[in-house]
């Protein structure tokens, strides 16, 4: 671990934290274009964050310290997850700390704290949101783990660095099991980040949505942190998808020489990913809540099938 890799790690962390609202803005803009509207601009989330930070937070009388600490905890956990995913370089000091299972564990941590904080105030919306959030979570996390296991089995390692290095190795090989894993991953991404068809990120109706019910009692800087965390979560998920399924272009070893090209390529991939996400959100309709377990069950089965195919097609 030398200065270069440490610097690279810090740069990636800052990139994840700073550029996440930009991604949300880009997806929102693409959705507006697809719906034949002129959107609010790609910097809109930053304006929202600035507005929220500047406001006085109003908190319920009987909110416990857990409620007040949760935004910081989930912000830190998601930022750590972002720092562990190979974005602009495959080899970083934090790869030793966290592999794919730890990544899934960090997401579980975020989800549990969000649900607990929602239940803290004791309104009907809070417990309803917590219940729905855990429902989505308990099916989506196994599916995510299965999707992550497929490249782990291919590369004989659960470390994301090794996976990326293996997948970008000499000759590009098409892995059929990754096709299934990719389909399952898209479904899991939609579910975990609360995009259509699971949840509509553009509305603020609490009764039909999940994410709004969880944030109902937060305001001011706490709400700003939570919104930022949501943006970072999408950013991290898309980077994981890029690292697993279109890894070509990520430098295998750290080094400032490859940095500009890697940065440009990464931004390009995320832009295309944002357009694809906006397209998916436009053509799909939000499904009824009791269909969500079926949706996630299908994702789980697809991921398991991908895992099976790994054995059945590659002797």
């Amino acid at each position: 671990m030398n200065r270069a890799t440490l610097g690279l790690q810090g740069l990636q962390l800052i990139l994840c934290v700073a550029a996440a609202p930009l991604l949300i803005g880009w997806v929102g803009l693409c959705r507006a274009w697809f719906a034949n509207r002129s959107g609010a601009g790609v910097l809109q989330p930053y304006r929202v964050l600035k507005k929220l930070f500047a406001k006085t937070p109003v908190v319920a009388h009987d909110a416990s310290p857990l409620f007040l600490a949760t935004p910081y905890i989930i912000f830190a956990a998601t930022a750590l997850a972002g720092a562990s995913v190979p974005m602009i370089s495959a080899a970083r000091p934090l790869t030793d700390a966290a592999d794919v299972i730890t990544l899934a564990g960090l997401f579980i941590l975020t989800r549990i704290f969000t649900a607990l904080a929602a239940m803290d105030i004791g309104t009907a919306f809070g417990s309803m949101g917590a219940r729905r959030e855990m429902l989505v979570g308990f099916l989506a996390e196994p599916a995510l783990l299965m999707v992550l296991f497929t490249p782990a089995l291919i590369s004989h390692s659960t470390s994301l660095t090794v996976i990326v290095q293996h997948l970008t190795a000499s000759s590009p090989i098409l892995y059929p099991s990754m096709a299934f894993a990719a389909a399952a991953y898209v479904m899991v991404l939609l579910a975990e980040n609360g995009r259509i068809p699971i949840d509509n990120p553009g509305t603020h109706l609490e009764l039909t949505m999940i994410h709004e019910a969880l944030n109902l009692e937060y305001s001011g800087r706490y709400l700003a942190l939570i919104e930022w965390t949501t943006a970072m979560k999408l950013f991290v998920y898309m980077s994981i998808g890029v690292a697993l399924f279109i890894p070509w272009g990520i430098p295998r070893h750290g080094g400032l020489a490859h940095l500009p090209w890697a940065l440009v390529l990464f931004c390009a991939k995320l832009c295309i990913g944002g357009i694809a996400l906006a397209f998916l959100e436009t053509i799909l309709a939000k499904m009824r809540l009791f269909r969500v377990p079926e949706f996630l069950g299908t994702a789980f089965m697809l991921a398991v099938l991908g895992l099976l195919l790994r054995f059945l097609l590659r002797r």
Partner: protein, 217 residues
């Protein structure tokens, strides 16, 4: 692995993915679109096999399959659906997670069955035989579990897709005569299905097969 086999394997995986997607679909319109995608994958795989083994007659087969299964048949089916006003969801008889589990079990079984066959012949691409067999089983399962006549027809067509996929990618080629024979069988079958669909609807005012079953009691 040589790139040719890799591409065939990838197309086989996509074929299986589409078969699974058809299994978990609720709407007939989506089923028809998925069938068109499956036909496209089939045509692509036949072209790849033709390119890899330098058998030019397979190009004709690919073109024929592509034309029929991606253009003609889906358009006809869409028109049929519009005429029959079949706008409701085809409800499966069994819940979707159970269906997916059954599908998973069938895939494992298909590979179990194809294991000894691979040991027999040298030219057989063992992996894709398993996949093709699995997609045949899945289309059969779809036919069993559906309650509308049209979706059963689509299941039958998907079955035929699987057969042709098995024949071309596993043995790298199929005599044209056999393929034309299969195609003729399918055309006749679809014609009969179409005629029957009109008759059933005229008789029962609905294409739901449960009405027909109840009638017999």
């Amino acid at each position: 692995m040589p790139p040719f086999t890799q591409v065939i394997n990838m197309l086989a995986a996509l074929f299986l993915l589409v078969a699974f997607a058809m299994l978990s679909q609720r709407r007939i319109v989506n089923l028809i679109n998925l069938y068109a995608i499956q036909g496209l994958i089939l045509a692509l795989s036949i072209s790849v096999v033709a390119y890899g083994t330098h058998q030019n007659h397979l190009y004709w087969s690919a073109a024929l399959n592509g034309l029929l299964k991606v253009c003609v048949v889906p358009v006809l089916l869409h028109r049929l659906v519009r005429t029959l006003k079949v706008a409701w969801d085809p409800e499966s008889l069994v819940r979707i997670p159970t269906v997916m589990l059954l599908g998973l079990a069938l895939v494992i079984f298909a590979f179990h069955v194809s294991l000894p066959i691979a040991g027999l012949a040298r030219t057989v691409n063992h992996d894709t035989l398993g996949v093709a067999l699995a997609s045949i089983f899945l289309s059969f399962l779809m036919m069993i579990l559906r309650t509308t006549a049209i979706s059963q027809v689509i299941g039958f067509l998907a079955l035929e897709n699987g057969l042709i996929f098995a024949a071309t990618s596993v043995t790298y080629g199929m005599p044209m005569v056999i393929e034309l024979g299969i195609a003729l069988d399918v055309i006749v079958g679809v014609l009969i299905f179409g005629v029957f669909s009109f008759h059933i609807r005229a008789q029962f005012d609905s294409l739901d097969l449960r009405h027909m079953e109840r009638r017999d009691e």
